[in-house]
Symmetry: C2
Subunit: 392 residues, 2 copies
């Protein structure tokens, strides 16, 4: 096991109706002037935004608001948010929404105390300070409610890039599984795919002897395999929603990934898809991740056998382990199809002829990525090709 | 799943030689005058205490020290520590040791700012503030390095009682698995038993539909089943030590136990043994926990089948599930015997004729405990009897 630091100071406030406590929690964490940041009309129509405002009012918290965050959140709105926070002297940003809203809030939070362009933090600069961020989560997916990460898309050129630092970890995150019950099945499945992908990016490692984090990763995956089809079949299944919601957080605080090298190439490869086609990140991952697995599995067949047997319940073929490795990947893709995810370019709305553009935008040139298997531009092109043509 | 708040703000600093960074971390968390709290001579002889002091000196931190913490730490030393912290104006307590040292440090930390008797917090009063505590962990066992709990024994009457509150969670915990390599096999096995017991206390629940925390609990248990025999066979196996150390923390921050009713009766029943005989807590748990399982398993045979099949790899007897439930309990006791733990009163140094005294000290009277199965004094006596006579 590698050495590591693990720091996850977010207070998670979980359960039915807990959003009505957000005023008290803002107060507890020292907020007095809050920016409520949110996305489209669903938070308005559902009455959630009104409940949040009522709770802030009750606690005597001043608030202003900025809606309009889109999936694959844009830099343009971040600049607006920074201006607004400065002029209103905001001291805490409350993100009411999913990963896109939270990531946008984190970007604003870094930008407010920073004299330069906030995009610097998405170009490699490490953030040292940020306004406090808190969240009221409405979709189990990105894990941004417990992570120190943020992904933003620069509209000029549709560049999708990430930033990270412990100062971005939310002070508190309110997680009411009931808020996710109104999500359409497709979005629910996209979220579930994202959660599983966060685990797989950590699971495929070259660090030996990491039984505890292997088992913790598998715990999250087994939960998703059991619970996701249940919420797709019955969106109002509170218990399944609750299990998925906590799984999504555990998947991405990094408690299941400490002490081991991680991969993250599938995320990078997917980001070019969602940047170019503006498709859902989870849907892109459903297309890319099994293709990536098919491309790399020979690097460590036994690790793929472990996934196949422990997560998908495949029988181990001791005479020919490769069969088991491939059966596991097939089981994953079949699972994704079963929850309504696309599994190839056509189903996603992507085009095979765009592969050169995707590889170009990935921007690797003649270099190699880091990860479980270090990839060249040619390797990435091949992964896109496998993804383009995948069938079950 | 029940609603919950989860808050684990401790920074975990994990890996070889990380104790040499403790001065920097004390500084980061605002300490300038530190009490180094420790146990017996092992921390002195190993040179660990000198390394800790050198690191504090290097960071310009003033320190004083108080050693002498015993297993089943006593109130008498806590009073001394409170006096010392007050007279030296200590602003952070650094526990260098295992669960006993950390628990003693937490008791002192609560006592310093409190005008009354610190024992109030071990008699039901909730602590609101405490001096910051930090740890350099030397044994994987109690999980106190990440928890908000503390257990202290009152010498007058040998009463062993617990206190808890988020203000007791350590600011940082330095975890170097190498420091645990010098532990005798018996202490290592006691620690492993304690870790597994922390999970089982959470695992046996009446809350339905808690797949994510079930699976996380099983992840820790599976790791312990794999790694513990490896360190017993080879105390210098760093990788196995590292896996156990992180498992021990994950077992007790409560991330695997949120949203579900928990039991904790085995801990209570064991506390009377270690209070009366001053035996190791882990050894007492090895005797009590399988006995408790035998007494309660009929309350939910399927949950015991789940443990048997998922954790101990038993085959499910679909015709007679009770066989599988019992096979799982037997597998647990066999595992404990295999790592050198006692499994009955004689091996522990306890006496069956003391059972009335143990039940009396438990102090339940005509009431019932809370938990998976609510127990009467007669039930507890019966569990002690099963434990007294257990064989494999």
């Amino acid at each position: 096991m590698n050495g590591f630091n693990f720091f996850s100071p977010t207070e998670f406030v979980f359960g039915k109706g807990r959003e009505n406590e957000c005023g008290e929690f803002v107060k507890k964490y020292g907020g007095s002037k809050v920016l409520i940041h949110y996305g489209g009309q669903s938070a308005v129509k559902s009455g959630l935004l009104d409940r949040v405002k009522a709770s802030l009012d009750k606690s005597g918290i001043y608030w202003c608001e900025l809606g309009g965050v889109k999936p694959n959140p844009r830099d343009t709105l971040v600049y607006q948010g920074i201006e607004l926070c400065r002029s209103e002297k905001v001291d805490l940003i409350l993100a009411v929404g999913g990963g896109s809203v939270i990531d946008s809030a984190k970007a604003i939070a870094m930008g407010v105390p920073y004299e330069g362009d906030f995009w610097d933090f998405y170009s490699g600069k490490r953030p040292e300070k940020a306004l406090p961020v808190a969240t009221v989560l409405t979709i189990a997916a990105a894990g941004s409610e417990g992570s120190g990460d943020s992904v933003i898309t620069k509209e000029d050129g549709m560049l999708k890039r990430g930033a990270g630092g412990d100062c971005l970890r939310p002070r508190f995150s309110i997680m009411d599984p009931e808020l996710t019950q109104t999500l359409p099945a497709y979005q629910t499945a996209c979220g579930a795919t994202d959660i599983m992908a966060h685990v797989f990016e950590r699971y495929f490692t070259n660090t030996p002897e990491v039984e505890i984090t292997d088992r913790l990763c598998e715990a999250v995956l087994l939960t998703m395999v059991k619970e996701t089809p249940r919420v797709i079949a019955d969106p109002n299944n509170y218990e399944a929603r609750a299990n998925i919601m906590w799984a999504g957080t555990v998947a991405h605080t990094n408690i299941v990934g400490v002490g081991r090298d991680q991969d993250w190439n599938s995320h990078g490869i997917e980001h070019e898809l969602s940047a170019l086609y503006d498709c859902a990140h989870g849907a892109g991952l459903a297309v890319i991740m099994p293709a990536w697995m098919e491309f790399v599995y020979k690097h460590n067949i036994m690790r793929f056998c472990q996934m196949a047997t422990r997560v998908f319940g495949c029988n181990m073929d001791f005479e020919n382990p490769e069969n088991t490795a491939l059966a596991g990947i097939r089981a994953f893709r079949t699972f994704l199809r079963g929850i309504g995810m696309p599994i190839n370019f056509a189903e996603l709305g992507a085009k095979e002829e765009d592969i050169p553009v995707l590889v170009e935008k990935f921007g690797l040139g003649y270099g190699l990525t880091w990860g479980f298997v270090r990839l060249s531009s040619a390797d990435i092109a091949e992964i896109y090709r496998i993804a383009a043509r995948a069938e079950i």
